[in-house]
Symmetry: C2
Subunit: 157 residues, 2 copies
């Protein structure tokens, strides 16, 4: 049995995100899971995801992965328990209010990137998620995201 | 005569960035120019650059555009004058040390996004760039970037 990722629970109308939507044919299709208290997402960049220097990963990809993994983590922290849905308000999603990334070291190409998220705070409709992006044992970037819960209804307006 | 963009001056070895490298076949190829004291970049997202909700642009794309336009602005602020190179240290590039994005309003699809950058501070090897991303008259996101100058030599190490 394959474990479902956070993004596999997104409802069909809201599964079109370039970064994490399973229905976006051209997208990155990132997948996030719980690993104890942390959320984890592993992603292997494509050969063309290079930055200014060909041997390093493009900084925009790193921000993009953090954005979508952060949204998934906020969703899972409030709506998923142990890989299955809770029954409270399932028709909600998180959007990013703020994203901060510190680039600490060049991120090498041809490696699997590991993102690890931690829920720092849940306050009302806001979830604060902190994050690292590592290659093997090296933390290449750190991030912090402010996610805000909105109902799917308000997204459709 | 077509005016050259900031990115057209990047040396060949460092023009492979997915966001702004003219030699990346799969990339976004953003182009940045001066408009008085501000740097400007206009970009029309592809149909697949959607966020969780299909009518809005993917937040990761917004962060990516800011990242590359910020790097271009820092480069141009120190090495380009009126669309031509200065002769001081041309073999340097800027990398992103920190990126902060505040998402203020949904960014609609099927529109041209306009990014405007301003150099807030130049201090030693650091350039701080502030930025807006607008659709027509609406500012959809604001950003601030800390860019750090490095020599191409150190990138190759």
């Amino acid at each position: 049995m394959t474990m479902k990722a956070f993004q596999d629970y997104y409802s069909e109308n809201f599964a079109s995100c370039f970064g994490c939507g399973r229905l976006n044919e051209h997208g990155l299709h990132i997948k996030s899971y719980w690993d104890g208290e942390e959320s984890v997402c592993r992603f292997k960049p494509k050969h063309y995801h290079t930055g200014g220097f060909p041997g390093n990963v493009y900084g925009g990809l790193i921000a993009s992965l953090m954005d979508c993994h952060g949204a998934g983590t906020a969703y899972a922290a409030t709506y998923l328990k142990n890989g299955s849905k809770t029954d409270t308000d399932p028709a909600s999603r998180y959007v990013t209010a703020a994203l901060h990334v510190d680039y600490l070291a060049p991120t090498p190409m041809n490696e699997t990137l590991e993102l690890r998220g931690k829920v720092k705070e849940i306050r009302g409709r806001k979830v604060i998620v902190s994050m690292t992006l590592s290659v093997k044992e090296t933390v290449c970037a750190k991030g912090e995201l402010v996610m805000v819960r909105i109902s799917e209804e308000s997204l459709s307006e």
